[in-house]
Chain length 339, copies 3
């Protein structure tokens, strides 16, 4: 064996053994009650804290030169994406592989559901009979992951459904706030942009509310659902300048460019003039405010490049935290006492 | 190491060791003569019995909490699907991974065959030069897998070709009959629906004939090839009620909805009125008759939901048996004395 | 454990241990300076020799019955193909898996780049934050892999960009010459066909020049860039008969059939009449000349079938060498002293 590889292997075996011990200690008697993570409402505040504690540990793992642990060896994961995705699917797939899970991908194009008219239910039951342990499901129709999860033994994690929820995004977002600010509760947060069509916002507001944060919501009236303040604890602003004042966290959503020139926003240019996070607007927030975005970013529309690439941007941290968070979640759903 | 994981690992190591021993004993001096499984006619009755004996063992494996065995570690499998597939591809891919095989997927869309005009032959020879051990090939043109297999060293398993054959489907179907009825020979079987365009029927009738079963074939005259009784041992009925009387096994095929309103069937509604397996028709079969279907199912057309989800349905057993059967087949083609 | 498997496992453990030792000795203090392989110009002649020395060793590995080594266990590889590919992607993916790398695929269709307007840069930075170790990138736009590589930590290997370069193809091509002829320098080489739109030719001419080979270039004037002889050391011929005389190596490029009947070539038939490598033309080269082609081949247009399948063809060797070469390259970029 190459001496470097031998050394690395010995170090990593020791480190991983210690890591598993620390992970077990960290979890203690806590566990996730639900077999699924489909809505943020599947999780209590205590369960979210558990996920964040584990995420913190997994952040040590992902920077190691050897990222293969057999913690979930012998289990299987199906990444079932009915909408295109790069970051969510890649993140889950790599996370699964690093934990020793056998992963397979099913995408809309390659499945028999389109052409052969099979119901999604029947497909999911099929996967269940192959004893898949966890299914990561992204679907354009709100409610689909829940309907599937109710019928099968396998754990289901939503990778986003319609305009409804994207719970792992909210988890990584809150973890990023925790990591950057040292705490979640007590931060002032503004969410900017297209709330109406955003599953990210759907999960994020729910999650912030659990930590007693009432986010400010800023965007054009056409992109904020009517009566939002009656459903969630939040405060709606049509002026970004007013909303951004003194906040700790600026969360810009992605504007879907294809909506421009439709009924909902006049032009992209118009939108960006009023709602793009630029240096001047950023300066109205607290001096140590962080800027977040779920990606993919429309540069110069959602965020100005100097903001995205500037020192207050937490955008790349979000990606890294998302990776760690998905490792943690897979472990909590399939590992430890669950095995 | 987490105490649960340690315990699981020790138990599984012991179980797997014993499993491999039982598998080796079960196989004994038997083997598959052909390097390929392309047609049911590649297999003698004795070889099919061998596959079923191994399938029975692998059914113990697939319900274990740790489903990773290194039996075929260091080999490689290419899933080469020129037609969309969910269950066949997923089943083969997961089976391969669970046995430690390195698997890769090639689909029509991502290959250079479409756009660059490469012949399938040349692509297969290319894979052969990467020393792939087994290629799972689904193609819309009958005869393609055989043509490929003749040119390369790698084992070829057909995942279905045109209207011709789908041998692993027939294997899992017969295993399901064996499992549910305790024997294959001696059962009365009716196959219902679109025989003409069904590769499933093509392989199934061949397989049943090997076990001296002369299946009854029921469907509209337009969907049953003329002269079928001269090619295979079977008996054609145009009345499902007549055909279903007293059978042990009802095998419904999938009607391709796009054929309706064409020359072959008048309307889906008409077809389902005459040939859908509903509770009344099921009651004409033996009281302990089982209902099978290769999937994906057109609910209310091929089968009524109460039949599919009822106690006599073996549809989900078929999926599970298919998974076990593909594990067995991969092992028989690549493992044991073949290594 | 099955006695054959036990025996194989013991033999392979011993062989692999010895292999790693020989590999380490072979490499010695040499290393690749660049973290990326995007252009042949990233590599000096000495570095190419290093790759070839390792390729030679890996050719022993790829014919072994157990092709799984943990040399790069715990690293991750992203195959990011924006253009369809069978052989390049399969070759890299299998190579990665055989070395124990966790590999994932991203294709144009399944990524968020198309529909969501994300920049490629942002996608690459995303993958970087998941700590991918190497990204294999094929893109239709020349220069894209370099632009990406400059922004991220991960190693980038180009799988071909536009009409620009395809460096691993040139590496396998030169290795094939070395393997068949016992040396690279000193061989007379003719490259035939569509030079203008060929990234293969772009990299191959650069690579040959490093070994002081001035290739002859043969093709219709419309398919040879004007002034080519001023950019590279080469000699242009419009008559294939003149160019092919006495050469050691005939390298036919793929003509893109869709170019025919355009401005650049009159018809495929016309092209093939003048430039297809047929037995008569092959006979004008040295008697032991070899025939190469990057694939996929247009039979009867680029090469006549009797030439492609004849004794002088090195086409299948190229595929096999490409596989070994990619194993070597991944190891040199990620293994040994780099770990």
């Amino acid at each position: 064996m190459h001496p470097n590889r031998k050394k690395l292997q010995d170090e990593m075996a020791k480190w991983q053994d210690d890591f598993e011990k620390r992970l077990t200690d960290c979890i203690g008697k806590r566990k996730l009650r639900s077999k699924n993570v489909i809505s943020i409402d599947d999780l209590s505040k205590e369960e979210m804290d558990l996920i964040f504690d584990c995420t913190k540990l997994f952040k040590e793992f992902i920077v190691k030169p050897d990222r293969k642990m057999g913690l979930l060896k012998g289990t299987s994961q199906v990444n079932f994406f009915f909408e295109d995705s790069t970051r969510t699917r890649s993140s889950f797939e790599l996370a699964g592989k690093h934990l020793g899970i056998d992963t397979i991908n099913i995408s809309k194009g390659g499945s028999s559901m389109d052409k052969k008219g099979e119901t999604l239910n029947d497909t999911a039951r099929t996967l269940d009979k192959m004893h898949a342990d966890v299914i990561i499901l992204r679907h354009s129709k709100a409610g689909t992951p829940q309907m599937i999860a109710d019928q099968i033994k396998a754990a289901v994690i939503s990778g986003g459904d319609g305009w409804h929820e994207h719970p792992t995004q909210a988890l990584l977002d809150l973890y990023t706030i925790l990591d950057k600010k040292g705490k979640i509760s007590g931060n002032k947060v503004v969410i900017v942009g297209d709330i109406k069509h955003s599953r990210v916002a759907g999960s994020l507001i729910r999650a912030l509310n659990k930590y007693d944060i009432e986010p400010r919501i800023a965007g054009p009236p056409t992109l904020i659902p009517f009566g939002l303040e009656k459903v969630f604890k939040c405060k709606v602003f049509y002026s970004l300048e007013e909303a951004i004042k003194g906040v700790d966290v600026i969360y810009a959503l992605r504007i879907q460019l294809e909506r421009a020139a439709g009924a909902e926003i006049p032009t992209v240019r118009e939108y960006s003039k009023t709602y793009c996070i630029n240096p001047a607007r950023l300066a109205m927030a607290k001096p140590d405010a962080i800027v977040m975005h779920p990606g993919p970013i429309n540069r110069e529309v959602d965020l100005r490049t100097e903001v995205m690439d500037g020192p207050q941007s937490a955008v790349e941290d979000q990606v890294e935290n998302g990776f760690a968070c998905r490792l943690a979640l897979l472990y909590l759903l399939l590992g430890g006492d669950r095995r």
